[in-house]
Symmetry: C2
Subunit: 147 residues, 2 copies
């Protein structure tokens, strides 16, 4: 982490997720808590609730930042944020864990480097976006290549 950067924030749109997982409050809570653990983040507080008709919002407040998920099971879609201000955390591992557990087939990811000091002393952020196909493991690709 750059000495002038105060945090890393991953903004993720996950598609093709398992609707059963996306509507399961208990499962999502376990997934986000485990994500905080694999991302080496200290959990301070959690809040999960179901919103109408069957989506779920989940927040895990970690030291100096947060992990959140908002789900639309009817679209197989989840909006995920993993934001950390702790230089020793591994937010990218938390993102990977969540995508795997909700069985996302595709993810659009934007990494926002937050609190980056500009030349004039004000703070800005730096943005980098990419696409992922989390479920396409090496074996999947090998299987596809044979067809």
């Amino acid at each position: 982490m750059n000495v002038h950067t105060l945090g890393y924030h991953y903004v993720v749109e996950a598609s093709g997720c398992d609707p059963e997982v996306l509507k399961d409050v208990g499962a999502l809570k376990r997934i986000l808590l485990k994500a905080a653990k694999v991302g080496e983040m200290d959990v301070r507080s959690t809040y999960f609730y179901r919103f109408s008709p069957h989506g779920v919002s989940g927040m895990v407040v970690v030291s100096g930042s947060h992990i959140s998920i908002h789900t639309w099971p009817e679209h197989g879609y989840a909006a995920i944020d993993v934001y950390t201000c702790d230089v020793s955390s591994k937010p990218e591992r938390a993102v990977e864990h969540i995508l795997k557990e909700i069985k996302a087939s595709y993810a659009h990811v934007t990494e926002i480097e937050r609190g980056v000091m500009d030349e004039d002393g004000t703070y800005t952020h730096v943005i980098l976006s990419w696409d992922e196909e989390p479920l396409e493991s090496g074996e999947d690709r090998a299987a596809k290549a044979q067809h």
Copy 2:
């Protein structure tokens, strides 16, 4: 809001803020709750705490989304997120309220349109960034113009 857009998320880096406000847990809680109100968002839960040495993290969970702030009083800096999935909300008003109350002199803002359906049926997001000088009111500009 586009029919294929599932949320709007404002990611804000605020500079030149009042350090006394940034270290005041009670003031920040009042500011974020009022921001939810002016942004026409229904509050579900709040969580605020001071982190070492004197920054504050605050989360307000609103219906289907959230408002958060993480502050570094020693840098006059705050990282703000206002995210709403409710089409009737006014997240930009919430952002303006927070910037005014923490007395930010400068803000770098990125609006992320979330859950935007792509041509292939997957979800992506659309990003737009700009800079603001929230404290520079019309009177300030008039006063400057005279010098």
